[in-house]
């Protein structure tokens, strides 16, 4: 069976019709991983033995007809989502040997479906970055060009799906960490509304912005994945009590009459021309299907990066304080506990993580709180209001996912500010708690994928899936050769 960019729903049919067994299916993926991941380096941990066990259990369910949409479907999981008994490193030396004694809620839900775990994917250390080059263990490459970054922080998950090492993967998105690598790797990724998916078991980066979501071959598979993982969770006080719809419901419905807003700030001179033209083109395709393009403005976008980095770093500084070498993880040396904690944190964390911890603690320090953190929260309210205004006259918003296609490894290494600015197209969606999906809308002259993002109202994942899917139905993606 050819599993190149295979869809979950097709694998479902193949499994249910006994065309292939669950064990054979995950074997196919391991074959791809073994053949190609040496080059791509998308996984930190490959769980072959466990996968075969899980596949055997899934097969029993398939044989007895007790089938859920993901029974026997192999998946890759970002290495910041806790898996009971399986190393969860956050791509950090700090957690190099950390084996969680519990499953994240999303993992429990996938287990209940009978999924098969292929392994844990690489990422920027503690999800801080947009290139997966801050990973302490696997600096993932872009399958379309091994000299380029896969994006990040969920670069391992995006590259794995792109390279057909997994039909789908879970990532997490704090400021674009699902959507941007999906766009760089030519696949589809959705960040659900904040609160849609439980964060319990997701190692926190910035708690008010983090959200788990799937990276798949297309929007339809994303809908299937969302159906499996979205629900209120009593273990996460920020998880929403909103009713969970069937996310596949609106797929295939015409976008005729749908109002698509294109805020002018997202199409400024700072955006790469090739990227812009592909996204504009996609807009025309949707217009030709009956959608209505609406001009609008999000003036607050110019404050988005400072607001985002203040909030994210402040929360991260606090969230990452627990890594002190006392209870688990990397332990340095020292005669007193102060020395021990200092040494553990100095050696256990990488440079980017330390930079953000410093930024965050500075912003929260007494005397600076009002000037920084409090102001950032006010900007957050401003951005929410501006999005609300746009959604008064439009159903979805269409933007580029990133200002550029995937860039060469190393070009942003010494310029953190430039790297932060590259998040401009994605961070406001997290700040405003909105759902956003990125799908491929074209390829550059050099053959690199270009992604566009569809942003929706809170809890309206259905409409952005519908819109992304409508475009995907007109577009033929090409799988990478590496």
């Amino acid at each position: 069976m050819d599993i190149t960019r295979a869809k979950i729903r097709d694998l479902r049919k193949a499994l249910d019709s006994k065309e292939i067994s669950a064990a054979e299916l995950c074997g196919e993926y391991f074959r791809n991983i073994e053949a190609g991941d040496g080059k791509v380096q998308s996984f930190i941990t490959v769980t072959k033995e466990k996968a075969l066990e899980m596949a055997a259990n899934a097969q029993k369910r398939i044989d007895s007809g007790d089938v859920s949409p993901l029974t026997g479907i192999p998946l890759a999981i970002k290495d910041n989502i806790c898996t009971d008994g399986v190393k969860t490193t956050c791509a950090s030396k700090m957690l190099e040997n950390f084996i969680p004694p519990y499953d994240a809620t999303v993992i429990e839900k996938l287990n209940a479906e009978g999924y098969v775990l292929l392994g844990k994917t690489s990422m920027d250390e503690f999800a801080m970055g947009g290139s997966t080059q801050t990973s302490a263990f696997a600096k993932t490459k872009n399958p379309y060009d091994l000299e380029r970054v896969p994006g990040g922080s969920s670069g391992g998950s995006a590259a794995a799906v792109s390279a057909s090492f997994a039909p789908a993967a879970l990532g997490s998105d704090t400021g674009g960490s699902i959507r941007q690598p999906a766009s760089f790797c030519g696949v589809t990724g959705i960040k659900p509304t904040y609160g849609r998916v439980s964060r319990y078991g997701l190692v926190a980066f910035a708690s008010s912005l983090d959200q788990i979501g799937p990276i798949c071959s297309d929007a339809r598979d994303c809908a299937i994945m969302l159906n499996a993982i979205c629900a209120h969770d009593p273990h996460d006080a920020t998880s929403a009590r909103q009713p969970v719809p069937d996310f596949t419901e609106k797929l295939g419905q015409s976008v005729s009459g749908m109002k698509i807003a294109m805020p002018k700030e997202f199409y400024s001179d700072d955006i790469d021309d090739e990227v812009k033209s592909h996204v504009m083109n996609a807009a025309k395709v949707l217009e030709s299907q009956g959608a209505q393009l609406v001009e609008c403005s999000i003036p607050g976008l110019k404050y988005a990066i400072p607001a985002y980095y203040l909030i994210a770093c402040a929360e991260a500084a606090s969230n990452l304080s627990r890594f002190d070498g006392i209870k688990y993880g990397f332990r340095g040396e020292g005669r007193t506990f102060e020395e021990l904690i200092r040494d553990s944190r100095s050696k256990g964390f990488g440079e980017e993580v330390k930079r953000r911890i410093l930024l965050g603690n500075y912003a929260l320090s007494s005397g600076y709180y009002d000037a920084y953190y409090k102001k950032a929260l006010a900007l957050k309210q401003q951005i929410i209001k501006e999005y609300n205004d746009v959604f008064d006259k439009a159903d979805v918003i269409l933007t580029p996912t990133a200002p550029t296609p995937a860039y060469k490894i190393g070009v942003q290494d010494n310029d953190p500010v430039k790297m932060y600015l590259a998040d401009i197209c994605t961070v406001t969606v997290n700040i405003a708690s909105l759902p956003g999906i990125s799908t491929t809308c074209g390829y550059t002259a050099e053959g690199m994928p270009v992604g566009m993002s569809v942003i929706g109202r809170r809890f309206d994942e259905q409409t952005i899936l519908q819109c992304a899917d409508a475009f995907e139905q007109t577009f033929a993606p090409t799988a990478p050769k590496f």
Partner: protein
């Protein structure tokens, strides 16, 4: 007479007696094998999230009501960030700008003077774990059982001017918390702890002096002593023309002195910010009203009930109410034997006497209030003598059991056996002819001698009334 005037404010931490911890479902009970009462959440494992225990919120609202506080309609939680090995997340979830309770008052009575102590705020937070230092092997071990136990911090205004007032206040709030059923207030187990802020100023001055903070005080005695010692230390400094430094000090009970722990310069910058994991709470009037109505009878109400309904003397009622265990015991007892005065008398006279002698441990009582009431009834209805009642009570304290069975087993009943009485008294009179003669010649004092002898010989098998009557009759013959 000192030339200075002390001003004192208190921060009291009380552990709430909820079944489970404040952000997870682990048991909040005291003790346990180290690290047996923790889970991924309270031990701060990566990825875990806190979920607020609504019972703890209910308890702090009750605490607010019993201390006459305003209850915030909108409340939220903040993170207090600092590194310490007993704090697994390296931040404590606490409340900074929006605590649950604000602006209350507690009435105290210190040395016969009534006074209102103003409460500044009460907020809900989580307790930390405990470090055990092994001096022999020079290692420190962390026990996270206590980690995440719900804690309220009660902050007063600087309204105290003596150790006596502080102690009166602490006794009062402990009573209130116990009666409201929200904290067991066992200082020795650390379920209530106190930090004391002290400053002194020259008498007549309108400005407060520089304050110091005393930490880790774990008994009322230690608190009172620490305050006195610290006031003396500050007075001496000022007398010598030196300055009081703003700092945190530790009280060494053995040496009776306070020593510096850390100065203001070393104080932590806690980098408070709203905890993004816990959504703020908005209370409705109905919810608050329901909680207010669920507060059990408070000490003052109980005293009033005892005095007005049962005719118990105010000092006795106060005495009973001053210990909630005794008070609950009394309420059970009078359900069994509807003679509150007699029960109260026997509690204040006999039970409390033995408790003060250390013979009775109310936390480990082998008999019930019901059984105690049965004993009082036996005594009141002349079924057993005073002295045998004491014997029975002794047995109940020692081994438990119903008073009737004990009286049966030990043959302690008053008997209607006139022969035994006659025979015993006749013998005593026959053996003491001189005394009998004295009585007959008008010396009433020796009557007591005969009563004593008869009581002793009869071992409570006759009622005092019967003995008295028989002796009189015999001696008048």
């Amino acid at each position: 007479m000192s030339a200075y005037f002390p001003t004192i404010g208190l921060e009291t931490h009380a552990e709430l007696s909820t079944n489970s911890k404040v952000f997870c479902t682990c048991s909040a009970e005291f003790g346990g094998t180290p690290n047996s009462r923790c889970c991924p959440v309270c031990s701060g494992l990566p990825g875990t999230l806190p979920v607020l225990n609504r019972k703890a919120v209910e308890y702090i609202i009750k605490a607010g009501y019993v201390m006459n506080c305003e209850i915030s309609r909108f409340t939220k939680w903040d993170r207090k960030n600092y590194f310490y090995p007993d704090l697994p997340k390296a931040y404590q979830i606490s409340q900074m700008p929006r605590p649950v309770c604000l602006a209350g008052t507690v009435k105290i009575n210190a040395g016969g003077k009534e006074k209102d102590i103003r409460i500044n705020r009460i907020h809900l937070e989580e307790d930390a774990g405990k470090l055990v230092h092994d001096e022999v092997n020079r290692i420190s071990l962390a026990d996270y059982n206590r980690c995440g136990v719900p804690l309220i911090e009660i902050v007063t205004e600087p309204d105290f001017h003596s150790a006596e007032e502080v102690v009166a206040y602490l006794e009062k709030i402990m009573l209130l918390l116990q009666y409201a059923g929200i904290c067991d207030c066992k200082m020795e187990q650390g379920s209530i702890r106190c930090d004391v802020n002290i400053s002194i100023a020259p008498k007549g001055s309108n400005e407060l002096g520089t304050r110091t903070e005393l930490k880790n005080l774990n008994s009322l005695k230690a608190i009172a002593r620490a305050i006195e010692v610290e006031i003396e230390r500050q007075e001496e400094l000022l007398d010598n023309g030196e300055k009081v430094i703003q700092e945190t000090r530790r009280f060494n009970e053995a040496l009776g002195e306070t020593t510096a722990m850390r100065s203001k310069e070393d104080a932590h910058d806690y980098r408070y910010f709203p905890d993004p994991d816990i959504p703020p709470i908005i209370f409705t009037e109905e919810e608050l009203e329901e909680i207010r109505n669920s507060i059990p009878e408070l000490p003052e109400q109980r005293v009033a009930r005892y005095v007005e309904q049962y005719g118990i003397k105010k000092p006795d009622a106060d005495l009973i109410v001053s210990d909630k265990k005794i008070c609950d015991f009394f309420d059970v007892a009078i359900q069994e034997y509807d003679n509150p005065k007699a029960v109260a008398n026997y509690i204040t006279g006999e039970l409390l006497r033995r408790k003060n002698l250390g013979e009775v441990d109310m936390d480990d009582l082998k008999f019930t209030g019901k059984e105690f009431a049965q004993l009082v009834e036996l005594l009141q209805t002349d079924k057993v003598s005073q002295s045998n009642a004491k014997v029975i009570l002794g047995e109940m304290i020692e081994n438990g059991g119903a008073p009737k069975s004990i009286a049966d087993a030990k043959d302690l009943w008053i008997k209607e056996d006139n022969d035994l009485l006659a025979k015993t008294v006749d013998e005593i009179i026959a053996n003491n002819p001189k005394a009998a003669e004295q009585y007959r010649s008008g010396d009433q004092k020796v009557f007591g001698f005969f009563m004593g002898q008869a009581n002793k010989a009869l071992k409570g098998q006759a009622s005092p009334k019967a003995i008295q009557e028989y002796i009189r009759k015999k001696l008048s013959e």
